[in-house]
């Protein structure tokens, strides 16, 4: 409950800030959308940084480091330090100067002017809005997961289905409403202030989290040495031979469990007597919950208590790993044995673990603050549903195979941060700058700020792979990556600190949501309503009102999607950024290439989006987290294809008029 109170106070503070900044609101749409070009270097740095660092940075980076190891930093953080500032330097300042000179508020206004094309807006508007929605989704989903994880056991009787904590749908709803309210009242000025405040909060609390967690793990050296001992591959991008050996041993044991379960449950040719079970347990050293099954499986195999055909063994593996059973069963698997790689070709049944785990561990699930056995407190507390699911996955599913990071994938990740060049919300932030000189601080400090946030998150995520807490492993295998940071904060800090640290995580999430909400409202009013209905048809107040109404609509749509969306934050983020990156050649050419034509841009945009849709479908709509195309990140192909289409078509179509060229390139 303490955590809930602290989160509530923090959210109230944000609302106050939004309402307070609205008192400085000048009542004009320009002030609502661009804060009257009044933002100085510090506010610009903090608002741009807060906007680009979202749930992706805190929740996603720690979760992905937990899954993939320290290479995650080089893949996205250090490359972003170079590329983001490059975009601010090459695009931000120039677009700011044109925005200031010609009165742009949105990207589409710039493109319409630069390309002498009204229709480009019709094409770009749905694409940009469509790409911002998954970006919003990342924040909305993560906020629900974080609040739910951290408030487990906060209620005595309510929300039993959510481990007596705030349900994710409610957490997401509250966060969406809070951001909506302060964007509603404060506009761009409120957003810039709230972003600055929240960026300071999440940076300070992020560093505090790092030190508190490392102290609980016995210090930074002890935490890293535990990884070196148990999961050395997480400290590099290759695979350590020790990890390969450990995996081979674990996979072998897992196949024994699969075969044992098949023999007794499906073939019904095996039942261990109580004496045999006692003998099995005697020989086995218990290490984790549900260890009895492993002991029985090893015992049954060692004593050759069953025989299965190749087909039965393959079916046993598919059933044990909750994979979909192919129908008809392939001929090749009636003879030969499936490898782990073959097994993974068959998709896992959606939410397979939910029903089974709740059935198997029904007697252990309850309020997490109450004892499992009131007469014997030594048995520990009740299990949460999340723990039951975790134990089920850890004891039933095949262990993860260690895999190296591909050098080509690492290199082609460089294309992902190009997305900032096309983020419509960042374009709007650039235009808020008071002067070109305002950009100097963000350009220089951005890579350092990324380092300050990402290095601790990546270390904490890697430590989580090998940490033990109160004598037991902190996380079982197959633990959901998105929940790693929140679970560590919950388990390893006091309720008061956990409340503050959660506020820090939520701050990072909300500081992106606000800019995106505002930007979508601005685009709708400026690029659609005012553009097509005429500037004089509506008063400024009506324009602001329409922006607000559109924001509410987008929040409602995103919230609806968040209730359905189970994908990994990091994977979803990479796809969303890839879409924006595929449009980067267009903005770059619009700023630096005089011969760019509107037909060239149409071609580039259409090829970018078609290739994005095709590859997104091929990745099973982001359900395949390690999907590559030609051994590279799919984004590399998208960027190359859109560039080629744009250049080729521009070279053979009519160039823009002399007036337009002179307007944007007077020095030539």
């Amino acid at each position: 409950m303490t955590q809930l109170v602290i989160i509530g106070i923090y959210l109230a503070l944000l609302l106050f800030l939004g309402v307070f900044s609205s008192r400085m609101f000048k009542g004009t749409s320009k002030d609502y959308m661009l804060a009257s070009h009044s933002i100085g270097p510090f506010l610009l740095l903090m608002s741009i940084f807060g906007t680009t660092m979202t749930a992706f940075a805190l929740v996603g980076s720690s979760g992905e480091a937990y899954k993939e190891g320290v290479g995650v930093y080089g893949m996205l953080a250090s490359s972003s330090g170079i590329i983001h500032s490059l975009c601010f330097f090459l695009l931000g300042i120039k677009l700011w100067s044109w925005g200031h000179k010609y009165g742009y508020t949105t990207q589409i206004q710039f493109f319409r002017d630069r390309l002498e094309s009204d229709r480009i807006g019709i094409i770009l508007f749905p694409i940009l809005v469509g790409l911002v929605i998954p970006y919003l989704l990342i924040g909305v989903m993560s906020s629900g997961v974080v609040i739910s994880s951290i408030t487990e056991g906060a209620f005595t009787d309510s929300f039993a289905a959510y481990d007596y904590g705030v349900p994710p749908w409610l957490g997401s709803l509250v966060i969406s409403l809070v951001v909506l309210i302060y964007v509603f009242f404060g506009g761009m000025r409120g957003t810039a202030w709230a972003n600055t405040f929240q960026t300071i909060v999440f940076m300070v609390l992020g560093v505090v989290t790092f030190f508190v967690i490392s102290a609980k793990l016995g210090g930074v050296q002890a935490a890293s040495h535990a990884v070196l001992e148990k999961n050395p591959s997480k400290l590099m991008r290759g695979v350590d031979p020790k990890d390969r050996e450990r995996y081979a041993e674990r996979y072998n044991t897992w196949t024994l469990i699969a075969k044992y379960n098949y023999a007794r449950r499906i073939a019904k040719t095996l039942t261990l007597t109580p004496e045999q079970k006692a003998e099995a347990y005697q020989e086995f050293k218990p290490r984790m919950p549900n260890w009895e099954m492993t002991a029985e499986a090893i015992y049954a195999s060692k004593n050759s208590l069953y025989t299965l055909t190749s087909e039965e063994v393959n079916k046993a593996l598919l059933i044990q790993d909750d994979r979909q059973m192919p129908d008809p069963f392939p001929e090749k698997w009636q003879m030969g044995l499936m490898s782990h790689h073959d097994l993974q070709e068959y998709p896992r049944k959606a939410n397979a673990e939910d029903e089974k785990a709740l059935l198997i561990f029904a007697g252990k699930i309850g309020h997490p603050e109450k004892d499992l056995d009131p007469n014997d407190p030594s048995k520990g507390k009740n299990w949460t549903i999340k723990k039951a699911l975790g134990v089920y996955r850890a004891s039933n599913w095949a262990p993860d195979a260690p895999h190296p990071m591909s050098k080509l994938v690492f290199f082609t990740y460089f294309f992902v941060p190009l997305s900032v060049g096309m983020f419509p919300h960042l374009f709007q932030h650039w235009l808020t700058a008071r002067s070109a000189g305002t950009f100097k601080l963000p350009v220089v400090a951005h890579p350092l700020f990324i380092m300050i946030v990402w290095v601790p998150c990546v270390l904490v995520g890697v430590w989580a792979t090998s940490a033990t807490f109160e004598g037991a492993p902190l996380f079982p295998p197959h633990f959901p990556a998105n929940a790693v940071l929140a679970a560590m904060v919950k388990k390893m800090t006091s309720p008061v600190l956990a409340g503050f640290l959660t506020a820090g995580i939520l701050a990072a999430i909300m500081s992106s949501l606000d800019s995106q909400f505002l930007c979508l409202g601005t685009m709708f009013t400026e690029d659609i309503v005012v553009h097509y209905c005429g500037k004089d048809r509506f008063t400024d107040k009506q324009v602001v009102f329409m922006a607000r109404m559109f924001i509410i609509l987008i929040v409602a749509i995103t919230y609806g999607f968040s209730l359905l969306e189970p994908r990994r934050v990091f994977t979803l983020g990479v796809w969303c950024f890839s879409g924006f990156s595929s449009l980067f050649p267009i903005i770059f050419a619009a700023v630096y290439w005089k011969k760019l034509t509107k037909a060239g841009v149409y071609a580039g945009v259409l090829v970018a989006i078609s290739s994005w849709l095709y590859l997104f479908k091929e990745s099973k709509y982001a359900l395949e987290p390690n999907y590559t195309f030609l051994g590279m990140m799919p984004v590399a192909t998208m960027v190359v294809l859109s560039t080629v289409a744009m250049i080729a078509v521009s070279l053979v179509t009519r160039p823009p008029s002399k007036e337009t060229v002179l307007r944007f390139f007077p020095e030539d």
Partner: protein, 78 residues
């Protein structure tokens, strides 16, 4: 000078691809994975390059272009 800065950015992009550390699991200062330390240094290197860009390759002429714009509202924030 502008081209020298762009050259440094290209150097950063090349040295970012640290293939020689791919299989290196060493801990520096007893806790910092060498890969992570190297990439953190790339971030510091990027900040230095961008600092040099603001000193020696800043597009001052864009400030003047913007000032040619029609009357703007003056701000009061920060």
């Amino acid at each position: 000078m502008r081209y020298a800065i762009y050259g440094l950015v290209v150097v950063l992009i090349i040295i970012h691809q640290d293939n020689w550390l791919w299989d290196d699991e060493r801990l520096i200062f007893g806790f910092m994975p060498i890969t992570l330390l190297y990439q953190a240094c790339i971030s510091i290197g990027a900040a230095i390059v961008w600092f040099l860009a603001t000193k020696f390759a800043w597009p001052h002429h864009l400030e003047e272009i913007a000032q040619e714009s029609p009357a703007q509202e003056t701000g009061d924030t920060e």
